[in-house]
């Protein structure tokens, strides 16, 4: 769930998450630098809903100037901040990039915390870090030791004109980057006036205790975590596929952002690094 909500204008496709990752830079840890690329750990839903015209051709978004109604291309559009009613300050991309130039190339791990001490309220969005360029040895060393110690590296870095607090967490020899909310994004119960009164219903407590132990399992599985809406949508689409009147073919010029096969990305990057080592 992206927190910055203003509409995005698609610019150069190079900024999209290609096989090169949506961010690349170094992960540093003391004087050790590990070149990495960042990939989303979330998939899109298998079937995406789109807005279509009456004849089944997809609709696209167009940008217009509200004053002269001219159609605008990406180069005609700038970011503005309304500092007074109807008055805007224009902020250019290069100005934002220059604000925290170093942080946009480097995730500098200045401290490590116990993974279990990070409250789930802070977790925002998961990514994978894949090694990029050169040897993957420092990457694998860091991943192994962090996992064995149960420690996450904590840092802030800048990606796509936004600063992120991030926890680098190792799992199964891989490094993940979980973006975290900043403290001022998480409210406390007293901030919102949630009040609870002491007291319990002893009979209910006893019954609930019994219920909790009878329904406890070590973890969750695919069936109980299923996206039921996606399944219903998939069924509907399967049924309608055969109906010739329902299907419309329309190839768009614009590539919609390729789906990345993370398994292949890691396989290739790790293999490249070990070949280099053997040479």
């Amino acid at each position: 769930m992206a927190r910055r909500k203003e509409p995005k204008v698609k610019k150069a496709p190079a900024a999209e998450a290609g096989p090169r990752g949506m961010w690349s830079g170094t992960l540093s840890f003391g004087l050790v630098s590990v070149p990495v690329a960042l990939f989303p750990a979330l998939r899109r839903r298998p079937v995406q809903l789109r807005m279509l015209a009456e004849d089944g051709i997809p609709l696209k978004r167009e940008y217009l100037c509200s004053a002269d109604n001219k159609t605008l291309g990406p180069d005609d559009i700038v970011r503005g901040y309304e500092y007074a009613d109807g008055k805007y300050v224009i902020v250019e991309d290069r100005e934002l990039e220059a604000l925290e130039a170093e942080k946009s190339n480097d995730i500098n791990l200045l401290q490590f915390a116990r993974v279990q001490d990070i409250d789930s309220f802070y977790f925002d969005r998961p990514y994978y870090l894949a090694p990029s360029g050169g040897s993957s040895k420092a990457y694998r060393l860091l991943a192994r030791v962090m996992e064995e110690e149960g420690k996450a590296g904590i840092a802030t870095f800048v990606m796509r004109e936004r600063e992120y607090l991030v926890a680098i967490i190792a799992a199964q020899g891989l490094l993940m980057a979980e973006t975290l909310r900043f403290a001022d994004e998480v409210r406390q119960p007293e901030d919102i006036g949630v009040t609870t009164r002491p007291g319990e219903n002893p009979l209910l407590s006893k019954a609930l205790k019994k219920l909790v132990s009878s329904l406890t399992k070590p973890t969750v599985d695919a069936r109980e975590m299923e996206d039921r809406f996606a399944r219903r949508l998939m069924h509907l689409v399967e049924r309608k596929k055969k109906d010739r009147n329902a299907a419309v073919r329309f190839a768009e010029e614009e590539e919609q952002g390729k789906i990345i096969d993370l398994v292949a990305v890691f396989k290739e990057r790790m293999a490249k690094a070990s070949r280099r080592r053997a040479a």
């Binding site: 909500k5 003391g30 050790v32 839903r45 279509l52 015209a53 089944g56 997809p58 609709l59 978004r61 509200s66 002269d68 559009i77 970011r79 503005g80 008055k87 224009i90 604000l99 130039a101 170093e102 490590f112 001490d117 409250d119 994978y128 420092a138 060393l141 192994r144 030791v145 904590i154 936004r162 799992a171 020899g173 900043f182 119960p189 919102i192 949630v194 609870t196 009164r197 319990e200 002893p202 209910l204 019954a207 909790v212 329904l215 399992k217 973890t219 969750v220 109980e224 299923e226 996206d227 219903r232 949508l233 509907l236 309608k240 329902a246 299907a247 329309f250 993370l262 890691f266 790790m270």
Partner: protein, 261 residues
């Protein structure tokens, strides 16, 4: 500051019910921009157009469809889409419990507090049991015509729901082949471990601030007053010679810092 509840419901656990009110636990303090036309600084508006003809299509006459293959769309009508929607309900069904910390970070999405709504004692019982047993409930509910799955937990004596991602939405680490670690030298492993231990701190989110956001605010104020902006350049980082030497030097530096407080 007192926030308004955004939804009301009933937690159902077997035959038992706990009425609750739901409040958002997160806020967004980031600076928000508008898109402007560069030439006249007027706000940009959006419209929908037909991809082939470029003709405007009013939003309420837009239809929906699913892309089943690249460039192949299946039209779905309003009635079919309405049938896909989950049945409206006020019940948060707790179907299962897991130990606190059983779920990894990648599943958690968005958090809400649940305040009591009429039955304080039932609420108190549920808080007490979850705390004493160190358990999280796995719950399903429907809110604003959408299916949710979440973790029912306790924060500072208050019930909370954290929405969870669906199974297929997450690329789990187990799906990716683990890299080898045979070639790591014991000395390197040992030093890396010592370095991590030397840099270990309790996690304190209040230590970190969105400096970028603050700098954006300063930049905006400066520009609004008509001030000039100078752009900084990036300095390339020097590369140390070898992994082992880098670890050694880092360890020495971290320990030096540690001993001086």
């Amino acid at each position: 500051m007192t926030a308004r509840a955004i939804w009301k419901g009933v937690i159902r656990l077997g035959r038992h019910e706990v009425p609750v009110q739901l409040y958002a636990a997160t806020v967004d303090p980031a600076v928000h921009f508008r898109l402007l036309h560069r030439k006249d600084k007027q706000p940009v508006r959006q419209r929908l157009v037909h991809s082939e003809t470029g003709k405007e299509v009013p939003r309420d006459s837009a239809r929906k469809g699913a892309e089943i293959d690249r460039g192949v769309f299946v039209r779905l009508d309003e009635k079919e889409l309405a049938e896909l929607e989950p049945a409206a309900s006020r019940t948060i069904n707790v179907e299962r419990f897991v130990a606190d910390e059983a779920l990894d970070h990648e599943w958690y999405d968005r958090s809400y507090y649940l305040g009591p709504d009429g039955d304080d004692k039932a609420y108190g019982s549920l808080v007490k049991v979850l705390q004493e047993e160190h358990k999280e409930g796995i719950a399903r509910w429907v809110m604003r015509k959408k299916d949710y799955i979440g973790s029912l937990t306790v924060r500072q004596g208050v019930l909370a729901l954290v929405t969870l991602r669906f199974w297929d939405e997450v690329v789990r680490p187990a799906e990716i082949e683990s890299p080898p670690s045979k070639d790591l030298k014991p000395a390197e492993v040992k030093m890396a471990r010592q370095l991590i231990v030397a840099l270990a701190r309790p996690f304190d989110p209040t230590q970190f601030r969105d400096e970028f956001n603050m700098k954006i605010r300063t930049l905006i104020q400066k520009k609004a007053r008509g001030g000039k902006i100078s752009l900084k350049k990036i300095r390339p980082k020097p590369q140390p010679p070898s992994l082992e030497q880098a670890l050694k030097a880092s360890l020495a530096a971290a320990r030096g810092k540690g001993s001086h407080g």
